[in-house]
Amino acid sequence: MISLEINGKQHSVDVEPDVPLLWVIREHLKLTGTKFGCGIGLCGSCTVHVDGKAERSCQIPVADARGKKITTIEGLPEDHPVKLAWIKEQVPQCGYCQSGQIMQAAALLAADKNPSDEKITNAMEGNLCRCGTYPYIMLAIKSAAGKGEKS
């Protein structure tokens, strides 16, 4: 059994230690907001916060997540400025990558309340969106910036 703290709640899962955290979150614990896209850490769909930092959950063996605070899209407050900005700017199209985009953006704004365009672009470089919502993501991050978000 492996113990995990996700969204402030303790979970105990019966899985092998090498199973990627992503699959434990999604399929074992049914927190399906976190998505599978590539499995090699190149698309960002599986982004969660591990001790406040944006990480690719497909690249973390579940055993390495023990003792860490994990936050998924479900654990980000409903009134979090990034979630609200995503709605205000009407970012999503198909929506599949957006949980990962939001988690990445929330971590960025937690570290830098008012990032430059260049900083935003650098921070979001690992998150793919096949629908091409990037211009809206940029707008939403700017709109959420400086509004005191915490992860």
């Binding site: 896209g37 470089e125 091409g132 919502t133």
Partner: protein, 723 residues
């Protein structure tokens, strides 16, 4: 916002007097409106394509028969109903339709989503449905107040008596309205009375999608389900020589190993169990049907086929004679690669096949295809099969295919368990139905006055339709292979279009904007080359060929004006233009680029897009679709190409099939032209012009014609060194 209401529940609710319901039936004789009661009596032959119901709690439920893959139909279709109904938008909910004859697209006679047709096909039936319900609610209110109907009007979810200012909400009128006969031909609103249509209404799916709550296919859970993974052949047509079933069965939670037509499936209680079990199979494959197939051999075959005589798809005037006598002749060969859809949600399907029932949850663009497949695989009747359409994590044509459904149904049937089948990214990329590669040779002639007098266009391209809709291949011509060329807007007196069909083991399918995704590039690159040969400005030259094609003319003129075409750009920047009509919409784009002389890297700074799609429903969605299509088209133009090796696909994931990322995205301005012309589509037509606009801009700044996609830095650099 979505609610869960099945058609049966809906009928029960409606028939119990708890609400009114309208079905629109498209018959060979026209549109027919029926109440829920009449609809129930119609029996199995009744085929309404859309439903709306109003319940006593004032909620308007719209059942949507089209798939939501990002293009906004879960919002735009309810908008149409709500506007005609004069509903309060806050009280409108949508429910996705199950797969059933009742929900077939009235034009196609199939329930599926594609070809940028959703609004075009559903606009009229939905307006009629909304208008009929409005008229019934007004009748019910007039009857309640004992006043003439002409003194009553519907307004945002209520009916008002204009004189006395009394009002009743829709919910309070449902019981009485349900007993009123459905009007045979309800009056539609005049367009100046639209409240929602043509407004940038916020999308109904955005809140859930911004909170991680939208349920995609991959998010399906069914009691007792097993996970499946499939070991697939690395080369086309390869068969297994051996595999270690015992080793797979020893992996934790593995329950079955099932040989399938497409590989060997392993089922387990957990996803990791299924994948480990699959790897443990250690399948040895034979070399497949064409072991020497690779990127180079494929391109050689295409090039060789350029020498073949094709089938003539269009032949105006005498191209041969005019080309032969032309004072100025131009010639170019263009090469475009196979492309992957790369939807962010990999292919997946959950199926539960039992004795006497089958239930499927799938992100699909093709409900009718799924239903027919399930009937064939299970031997069950359509009413024993339930097909749930989830949200689609991208579609782009890939989800018109039902290969993953066939696998899930077969595995569930073989194991007797509900099965969730998830493809890994590598499977998704290597077992796609690709956007066809295309090699085209074009010859043209320009006369002394700089007029285009001849255009000869030979297309070597695989056929999508011969597999998907063979009935639409007429005289050997695949309509997708020649679209955008055979019907080009330019008026050239001598025009010949020739199609050489090439068959390879690589399966091809619909990919956003289909044939226009490659033909738009060749036509718009070549017309630019012709403009240069004629010594004319690229916009002016095109306008000269469009004098009788007013929509194309206007959209090009608009984009030139909005982009400031006549004004000089910053130093070391170039501009390029392209226009293309597809799916009934006219789009023109101007791209501003620079090219790094050191490494050949193309940077796109700004894209201006003008669109004429006729009457519009939601301008915010149109703008988003244009921007998205520009990004996807730019990704293909600059980055994407499927590589082949050893008889199969070599590209496997985003490391060797890169997509465009945020840093490469330009500023994209969209200008929607007010147009009363025929309505066009919006999901696809924004894509074709961007690649040629960028290539033409690269020429403008560097003098290099890029005739091969993607426009890789090394290709540009090599060309620059040759200059």
């Amino acid at each position: 916002m979505k609610t869960s209401i099945t058609r049966r529940e809906f009928l029960q609710k409606s028939l119990a007097g708890a609400g009114i319901a309208i079905a629109v039936s498209i018959t060979p004789y026209g549109t027919k409106l029926l109440s829920a009661e009449e609809a129930a009596k119609e029996g199995p032959d009744f085929s309404p394509n859309v439903w709306l119901t109003i319940t006593p709690d004032d909620i308007v439920h719209v059942i949507v028969n089209k798939s939501e893959m990002g293009q906004g139909v879960y919002t735009s279709l309810p908008m149409i109903v709500a506007d005609e109904l004069d509903a309060d938008w806050k009280q409108v909910r949508m429910t996705e339709a199950l797969a059933a004859d009742k929900y077939k697209d009235p034009i196609w006679g199939r329930q599926s989503t594609g070809g940028s047709t959703t609004i075009r096909h559903m606009y009229k039936p939905l307006r009629i449905a909304g208008a009929a319900a409005r008229q019934m609610l007004i009748s019910a209110a007039a009857d309640t107040w004992k006043v003439p109907e002409s003194e009553c009007e519907a307004y945002r979810g209520t009916v008002r008596h204009i004189v006395t200012k009394r009002s009743l909400t829709f919910g309070k009128l449902t019981e009485k309205a349900a007993s009123i006969p459905v009007p045979k031909s309800p009056a539609l609103k005049s367009e100046d009375k639209f409240d929602l249509i043509s407004s940038p209404v916020e999308r109904l799916d955005v809140p859930d999608k911004s909170r991680g709550k939208a349920m995609f296919g991959i998010d399906t859970f069914v009691e007792g389900m097993q996970y499946a993974a499939i070991a697939r052949p690395p080369a086309y047509g390869a068969k297994p020589l051996s595999f270690d079933k015992d080793a797979a069965m020893k992996v934790r939670t593995v329950s079955h190993a099932v040989p399938m037509p497409t590989g060997i499936a392993v089922c387990a209680g957990t996803p990791e169990g299924a994948w480990k079990g699959r790897d443990a199979l250690d399948v040895k494959w034979d070399k497949g049907i064409e072991p020497d197939l690779d990127t180079v051999s494929l391109e050689k075959s295409f090039m060789a086929d350029l020498a073949k005589e094709g089938i003539t798809a269009r032949n105006d005037g005498d191209v041969k004679a005019v080309l032969g006598a032309a004072p100025k002749k131009i010639e170019a060969t263009y090469v475009l690669p196979y492309l992957s859809h790369a939807t962010m949600e990999p292919m997946n399907c959950t199926a539960d096949v039992r004795r006497g029932s089958c239930e499927i949850w799938v992100p699909t663009q093709n409900q009718t295809g799924v239903l027919e497949l399930a009937e064939k695989e299970t031997g069950l009747k359509p009413d024993q099969i339930k097909v749930h359409t989830t949200y689609l994590g991208g579609g782009f044509g890939r989800r018109f295919e039902i290969d993953v459904v066939e696998e899930a149904v077969k595995i569930s049937k073989a194991t007797g368990r509900p099965i969730k089948l998830i493809w890994k990214r590598e499977e998704d990329m290597q077992h796609d139905f690709y956007r066809p590669a295309n090699v085209s040779r074009i010859e043209g002639a320009v006369d002394e006055k700089g007029r285009m007098t001849a255009w000869s266009h030979k297309i070597v391209c695989p056929s999508i339709f011969s597999r998907v809709f063979p009935g639409q291949v007429k005289d050997g011509i695949d309509p997708a292979a020649v679209e955008g060329v055979r019907n080009m807007e330019y008026e050239v007196p001598n025009l010949r279009v020739e199609y050489v069909r090439i068959d390879t083991p690589v399966p091809v399918g619909f990919w956003r904007s289909v044939g226009s995704s490659h033909n738009g590039f060749t036509v718009e690159s070549f017309v630019d080359e012709a403009a240069h040969a004629a010594g004319k400005d690229p916009v002016e030259f095109r306008l000269g060929l469009l004098k009788n094609h007013l929509r194309a003319y206007r959209v090009l003129e608009t984009v030139a004006e909005k982009a400031g075409w006549a004004k000089p750009l910053q130093k070391a920047q170039g501009k390029g233009v392209a226009q293309h009509m597809s799916f009934g919409s006219y789009i023109a784009q101007v791209a501003e680029v620079s090219v790094d002389k050191k490494d050949g890297l193309i940077k796109v700074h700004r894209v201006v897009c003008a669109v004429d799609c006729g009457p519009i429903v939601n301008p915010a969605i149109i703008t988003a679709q244009m921007r998205g299509a520009v990004v996807m088209g730019l990704s293909a133009a600059l980055k994407e190409a499927i590589a082949f090796a050893k008889g199969g696909v070599e590209s496997s994931n985003f490391d060797n099939y890169p997509l465009l990322r945020m840093a490469d995205v330009p500023a994209i301005e969209v200008h929607i032209i007010k147009s009363k012309d025929e309505m066009g589509g919006i999901g696809e037509p924004g894509l074709p012009p961007i690649a040629p606009a960028v290539a033409n801009a690269v020429f403008n700044v560097s003098g290099i014609r890029v005739r091969r996609l993607p426009m890789k830095p090394e290709t540009v650099l090599a060309a620059m060194k040759k200059m």
